[in-house]
Each structure stands twice: as C-alpha cells, then as structure tokens.
C-alpha cells in the first residue's frame, strides 16, 4: 500500500485556510479521500515538509511558499490559494 498522502498545508491564523476548511471537508466526504491538514507556522516539522515540496508549491503560489496549499505526494502536483472542489478533484487524481 502506498504511503503517499494528499496534504494541505495551512496556517492557524490564515483566513483563506479557515474559509476553505468546510470545502475540503465536503470534498473528503464526497469522494471518500483523506487530505491530511498540516499547520506550518506552529509546527516546524510541517514547515520543513512544505519547504521540501517548495519548488512545486511556490510555482503554484506565484513565487512564494504560501498557505493554503495542496500537495499530492504521488503525482507531485500542487495547488495554491482558494481552490474549488473541481480543482481538488483534478489535483487528487480522482476519476
């Protein structure tokens, strides 16, 4: 079984992350997938993981490492900002 995860990186005080939380929850319910939320400003391990995937995430974010951002460990695909469920579906590689 693959250990690759679908991850979304968030910040505790990031407003867009807060707004996105119900959409991500709805998406997980609808498609039966797990997206692991990792907070980056209060957990250095999570911050370092975001930095590890930084090149792809920065490209998706327009240059900076930012939150909310999404990383698919299986495909290397990244999303950034206020995404829709349709975009999440493509990112999560769901048929």
């Amino acid at each position: 079984m693959s250990e690759d995860r679908l991850i979304w990186f968030t910040g505790r005080e990031c407003e867009h992350c807060k707004e996105l939380r119900p959409i991500v929850a709805e998406f997980m319910d609808e498609y039966g997938v797990e997206i692991e939320e990792l907070e980056v400003w209060h957990d250095e391990r999570n911050a370092n993981l975001l930095r590890k995937y930084g090149e792809d995430i920065a490209e998706a974010c327009g240059g900076d490492l930012a939150v909310p951002s999404f990383y698919n460990e299986a495909t290397g695909s990244a999303l950034c900002g206020k995404v829709t469920k349709e975009l999440l579906k493509l990112w999560a590689d769901i048929e």
Partner: protein, 148 residues
C-alpha cells in the same frame, strides 16, 4: 546587508536629536527635528545601544491594527471590512514575531533564506503580488483596494 536593487543599507544617526535611519542614504531632512544634512553613519551595535529600552512596542492585537490603520491613511488601499479577519491576522503576525522573530505574513512561509524572508514581513510589498493585480488585495486579503 544587501537590500536587493537598492544597494547596501547602512545605519545613520541624526547628530542633533539621535533619530536613527536605516537605508542606502541618509535623509536630507531629519523627520524628527527637521535639521538638514544632519546624519552621520553609526555602527549597528551603536544604533541598537541608542535604542535602549523598548518604546512604543506593537505587542498586542489592538496596537498592530492601529499601526495598520495609520499605514493605510491617504493610500488607495485599506483594511478589509471583515474585522474578525483583521484581528485574526494581527494575532498571526504577533505569533510569528514571538515564535520566529519578525512579524511574518501568517499566510506564507519562510524559506530560511534571510533576504527572501525579509520580504514576508507584514505589511509586505503587496502591490507586487499576483492577488493585488487580479483581485485588488494582498495574499491574506488583509489590505484591499479602496472602492472609488
């Protein structure tokens, strides 16, 4: 320290009132005592010693928001009208100050490259961001273009 395209920034002291300035050049007129051509270079350690006891610290949410409001005065941008969001973001920059040493943007992340990370201090140069061009707001949605 190098400051991007602007060259080497130095610390300057007004020899009349001890106002401090950090920049490539000294101001022609001291903004504190209005003396002209009054600045002399000082060492960073000397400047820090001159600062002495902390004064006017922005160490709570209300003070941070107040500094942002002053910053917006007379500009084509203001704070979002979502007061709850403003307070939450102010809390975020204070958390980052306490945990990471500077008031970094709570919606981005440091790279560990100091030069790059200095560009993340809130308020940042948000008009250079894609979100300003596309939506008229900073990445966090804190500073927004004023409606005409």
């Amino acid at each position: 320290m190098k400051a991007g395209a602007w060259g080497e920034k130095l610390v300057w002291r007004c020899h009349i009132c001890n106002d401090l300035h950090f920049g490539v050049e000294a101001p022609e007129v001291c903004p504190t005592c209005r003396a002209r051509n009054a600045y002399v270079r000082v060492d960073t350690a000397e400047a820090l010693a001159l600062l002495g006891e902390p004064a006017g610290e922005l160490n709570d949410v209300g003070k941070v928001i107040s500094s942002w409001k002053v910053f917006c005065q007379g500009s084509d941008f203001g704070l979002t009208r979502n007061d709850e969001a403003v307070a939450n973001l102010a809390k975020g920059v204070l958390e980052n100050m306490r945990n990471h040493g500077l008031k970094y943007c709570p919606c981005r992340l440091t790279t560990m490259d100091r030069e790059k990370d200095l560009l993340l201090i809130c308020p940042c140069n948000f008009k250079a961001q894609r979100t300003w061009e596309e939506k008229g707001e900073c990445w966090c949605g804190l500073f927004v273009r004023r409606e005409k």
